[in-house]
Symmetry: C2
């Protein structure tokens, strides 16, 4: 595992690939070279190789590059291998229908929530793809409920990191958060009181694997006025009962 057993040019190339984002889906050699402090021509060679292999596509209008459809296929293999989405989707649909709220399914990936799927109470309703989106653990319902059931050392690593305040409601004091996690464990579910986004409240329930460790969570969320204490308890109960057959079996 020594550093010189790594292919440095590949690591550099992957850095280039990671410059592409939702905010900046199209980039040229100069932009990337500036972002990474690399040579323009070096970036160019990397880009044109990715293009030749189908991972990047060149926009002939702008001469810039964007991520190609080939990466979708890789994502498909991942999903198929994990199989989580397919396994959970029918349950998520039921949760959205019975709570009449938008339902989210996310898994624990390092110190972030990785969103896998969302479902909606009505089929006609406008929806959007969230696969691949990420959010912090400490300020989202999904994240906090996973944090509450994670090993202490992992929790401390998260709490000792930067706790950015996304809204005025975000809990950024590690001590307050520790007490809050204790309360979540008592309740068996977490709430998100507009800690990540203004006006959005949510209720989240953990999902445990066969080894008894939390690895995912399911939430319903919506406009804050709808989420009074009674609704929250009721929704948590609905989610828990629907997810029951999936607990401790993966």
């Amino acid at each position: 595992m020594s550093d010189d057993s790594q292919v440095k040019s590949l690591a550099r190339a992957l850095q280039v690939l990671e410059c592409f984002s939702v905010e900046q889906p199209e980039l040229g050699p100069s932009e990337i070279a500036r972002m990474l402090g690399m040579q323009k021509s070096t970036v160019y060679n990397i880009l044109s190789t990715f293009q030749k292999c189908g991972y990047l596509v060149k926009n002939p209008q702008t001469s810039k590059y964007y991520l190609g459809l080939k990466v979708l296929h890789l994502g498909y293999i991942v999903n198929s291998h994990h199989g989580l989405r397919d396994m959970f989707l029918p349950y998520l649909n039921r949760i959205a229908a019975e709570t009449r709220e938008v339902c989210y399914f996310g898994i624990l990936d390092g110190s972030e929530v990785l969103y896998i799927e969302s479902t909606y109470p009505s089929q006609q309703q406008q929806t959007r793809n969230i696969l691949g989106e990420r959010a912090p653990l400490y300020c989202t319902g999904l994240g906090k409920v996973m944090l509450a059931y994670m090993p202490e050392e992992d929790v401390e690593r998260v709490l000792s990191g930067r706790l950015k305040a996304y809204t005025g409601c975000t809990l950024t004091d590690p001590n307050v958060l520790r007490d809050h996690l204790e309360e979540i464990r008592r309740n068996g579910y977490a709430t998100d009181n507009m800690e990540h986004e203004y006006g959005i409240r949510c209720v989240a329930v953990p999902v445990f694997n066969a080894a008894g460790k939390v690895f995912a969570a399911v939430s319903v969320s919506g406009p804050s006025p709808r989420f009074d204490p009674e609704t929250i308890i009721n929704d948590a109960r609905i989610i828990s009962s629907i997810l029951q057959p999936l607990q401790h079996c993966i």
Copy 2:
């Protein structure tokens, strides 16, 4: 664009990445080295670099590698950039509900259909993720209806390729297919009479971009007995009318 302006080590590394598939989601250095005719230690270095960057994960049980969650994020960016899934999903939900059949949405990618999304008539119904799956053009409803509206030279390139018979119903004679495409253009929709999978029939309608070129298609499919001639015409009409607002606007 000469071949030596490419980063060869990157191209090799991407070859390694492409060895992973739905059928073989977990691979070790020896297996990959055999598949590609490369040196075992070379592959090992590439694998461990991908691992360090998060694109591969090592299974500690087997010491083999599998695709990590990071590639999902790249897929998310692609989707967000293209935005097709989000744009089409509400319409696909309506199509599934009104035809009471499973609805598929695929786009043209080279000489294949790339499936983007599927929707189901009932929300509770079991469903599966198809994003990233691919199928040939000449023997699927989605593929044939796109083929019917593609430029002649592209059609000929597909027809001159290998036309594998997936079932006894698959059309493998280029001349028969040419006539068949003419018929599809007359009808405005394509049918798939168990040409790709036994027992499955389907109806597919093309989607055109602002430049008037076909770039995607939508189909409904199901068990063959349900698809009598009358139902087919009716379903085609339903799909066309629901998709109407999306035609020629992308």
